[in-house]
Homo-oligomer: 481 residues x 2
């Protein structure tokens, strides 16, 4: 009989609820190892020996203790999460559910019950590491900013955004991203999506965009009544040379790092899109979503620096700090400002003035630069670990798009994306398939792949997440048949 003392990390610095537990687990001698482990865990929970909220040990240590395979432990945890015995939340590990296995009839008649979270590992490319949010520095900036703010900061908000923030941004964007702007040409918004929605409502269309990109952004443009035209993308970014043959009046690009598939826009293509915009009077929307995270060489300056009168530069703190903050910005050509302000409305309706003031202090105090330096090191290390792990464990999977940013694209053998995503879900692993990023109007073929957000997990959760990823990936072609 395999047995183990379940003894996850104990630390005097952790609150009681985060302490591990000492528990003797016995596995039935015969039969499927996963089923046996699940039965032992269920019994321990039912009997109360594993109390609600208790954190379970990592796969690795339990697998070692019990002498079984690590993926067997992972699979048992994932199934118990689905059954409701365990919960798995990013940053909190796998724990015994607060109310393990509610009877089905207790669930009915309730006014609203959110779908249970079944995510043990989160590699979705939607967020930086939430555990790395610089809480102490943010609190200090809040204190300074609110103490110094004039009274009118707490009145009805100016739709351009707080001058303190626009001034700090003009300085920062010029210095760090080569943007050519000034405070009067910046308008604050509640994130890239808000900025895009505003631009979609004031620009003439159709709007060209990259053939691979966020479906959510296509939805925003189409929701505003815009027709979109997809441009081919490759490892040098979008084929901007296709623009003159279209009737596009604007183009949305990710020049720093094509999202999600590739690298920075090639210098010739940068020149070509500027030429096109000048000769046709068109507008370029530059989504600089991760221009601050570049690893292999110096960051590529913003396209906007080439022609501030043709390019609308859009950025936000969603990748650099947190998507929970809801602050973004646009650096605009002068002639567009009045129209964008009209579209935004007579007063600020979305973006918190307190966050704006705090972020302004965060920039001017140097805390933003310090935070970026720190997180860049972490993400660079994770990127290396991802590449190394895949090279070792899944050498048949090609990794691309990792020159910058917080995500990678894993190219999958044709026809395996759905089954890989299904296998990932079985591991409690959340990630994106590449197919939904494809513009449905072509011109590019469907490619099977995964989009991996390697910035997303907390530090301690990154290795287990990679482990789950390896378990979910398809076998090499020669072993499949």
């Amino acid at each position: 009989m395999a047995e183990a003392w379940v003894n996850s990390r104990r630390s005097p610095e952790l609150p009681e609820s985060d302490q591990g537990v000492d528990l003797h687990l016995e596995l039935a001698r015969a039969g499927n190892r996963r089923s046996a482990l699940m039965a032992a865990l269920r019994e321990a929970i039912r009997s109360g020996r594993l109390a609600p909220g208790t954190r379970l040990p990592p796969y690795r240590s339990l697998a070692m203790d019990l002498g079984i395979a690590r993926n067997t432990v992972a699979a048992a945890y994932a199934e118990l999460v689905e059954e409701g015995w365990l919960t798995a939340r990013q940053g909190s590990g796998t724990r015994v559910a607060q109310r393990a296995v509610p009877a089905p009839d207790e669930r009915t008649g309730r006014p609203y019950r959110p779908a249970p979270r079944r995510v043990s590992h989160d590699l979705q490319p939607s967020s930086p590491n939430a555990a790395a949010f610089p809480r102490t520095a943010w609190i200090a900036s809040t204190r300074r900013a609110l103490s110094a703010a004039p009274n009118d900061a707490f009145g009805v908000g100016d739709p351009r955004g707080r001058l303190e923030l626009r001034t700090a941004l003009a300085e920062y964007l010029t210095r760090a991203r080569g943007v050519r702007t000034e405070p009067d040409r910046i308008i604050i918004c509640s994130g890239f999506a808000h900025g895009l929605r505003l631009m979609a409502s004031v620009l003439d269309g159709p709007i060209a965009m990259e053939a691979y990109g966020l479906g959510f952004y296509r939805d925003i443009l189409h929701g505003a009544g815009q027709h979109t035209i997809p441009l081919t993308v490759d490892s040098h970014g979008a084929h901007t040379g296709e623009l003159p043959a279209t009737d596009a009046r604007a183009v949305l690009l990710t020049p720093a790092h094509q999202y999600p598939t590739g690298g920075p826009l090639h210098p010739e293509r940068r020149a070509a899109v500027i030429d096109w915009a000048r000769s046709t009077g068109s507008v370029i929307l530059e989504d600089d979503y991760d221009g601050e995270f570049r690893y292999d060489r110096q960051p590529v300056g913003a396209l906007q620096g080439l022609d501030p009168d043709r390019v609308v530069y859009l950025g936000s703190v969603s990748k650099s700090l947190s998507p929970a903050l809801r602050v973004g910005w646009m650096a605009l050509p002068a002639r567009l400002i009045d129209n964008v302000l009209s579209a935004k409305g007579a007063r600020e309706m979305q973006c918190s003035a307190i966050d704006q003031l705090t972020l302004a202090d965060f920039f001017t105090s140097g805390a933003y630069d310090r935070h970026l330096r720190r997180t860049r090191i972490t993400y660079r290390r994770r990127r290396a670990q991802l590449v190394h792990t895949l090279a070792t464990r899944a050498p048949h999977i090609r990794v691309s798009g990792i020159a910058a940013g917080l995500h990678a694209v894993l190219e999958l053998p044709s026809g395996t994306e759905d089954s890989t995503l299904h296998a990932a879900r079985r591991q409690g692993l959340a990630l994106d398939g590449l197919t939904p990023y494809r513009h449905p109007a072509g011109p590019m073929p469907t490619r099977d792949g995964l989009v991996i957000g390697y910035g997303t997990p907390a530090d301690h959760a990154f290795t287990p997440a990679l482990e789950a990823l390896c378990l979910a990936l398809p076998d090499p072609p020669e072993t499949r048949k």
Copy 2:
């Protein structure tokens, strides 16, 4: 020759820039007193005797020193503000402009220059007293909330809003407003307007609304493609008895205090609208914009408490704390929650998680109750001062709508609204006329009036604002003509 030593308030507690100035002003002996004062002030600024940023003395004291009428001083200040020599900002008094009278050619060729602010006195009903924002308590709540928050607070936001805030709100709204709800039935939004936009996108129409109300809210409903039906209002609120004769499927009401004209919805009309909603399967939208500010008697509980399955309760911190915060909430019938969440999107795109967490602490720590108690006393005193001042200085003007809230309606003689607003602008006084609040589709006649936000100015600016108001009001009928 009239002359005065300009010597505004000096105080050791004020920074140097806020200190008054000692200055000898001489007015030409002959001619218009306003023009003479303007010429003297222009000369003092041009010569540098009045330095940029210098705060000018209050009307009252300068008028007394120079032996001229107070409104002459007010008019001279207002014209110099318009000319660019002076600036007048709420909370900061009238000051010499930082860059007085830029040459016209310096203004051209600039990419964007916001319209100069010409408001010396702000009685617009759009904001509470911005100077009363509880900065210290908010900083303390931020520190506690960010220190205690789980890591996932800094990841992609749940569109329902943070559970910490929804839990605090369910407790508060039950206790303070008689709302019957629970955290799972609350959805956070970025203010009342956001909530109304979401409801307009999920409800069947047409939507009935009060015949006097914010034009901005009509615009939101019409912008969402809804047809609206105006209901007569009087001092007992909306005539809800008109609803059965309409084909409305929903109604938007301000039951605590009809905005802007009147009092709380009469109990019989409350019962009638609930009966109508039940018998027709319709939905009531309750805008509880100022339910917390009631002076004459106990607050009227929320209409929602009568039937939580028929009423959507909407509130925000815009009046109680600050419109700069962008946090609001909806307490919803269970059957509407999924639709509202679908309309809101898969993630939180507007409302800052940090503000949500801080506000949750602000509620649970008791800071919100303390702030309301304090501001209620101030606003009650202002209301009394407004009523007293008007009774003394303009007894022919009737004041209504002051049982609660932060605003009053001044009824004007027919045909005098435009000229009164014009006179107010000449005083540098910002306020609203009543006419734009009228639903253009009737059924009520146009009424001349003013909507006065007596909560808006900082404490020291309230008396001068009332003074400017009295100067702008039309004379009694017998002295006109």
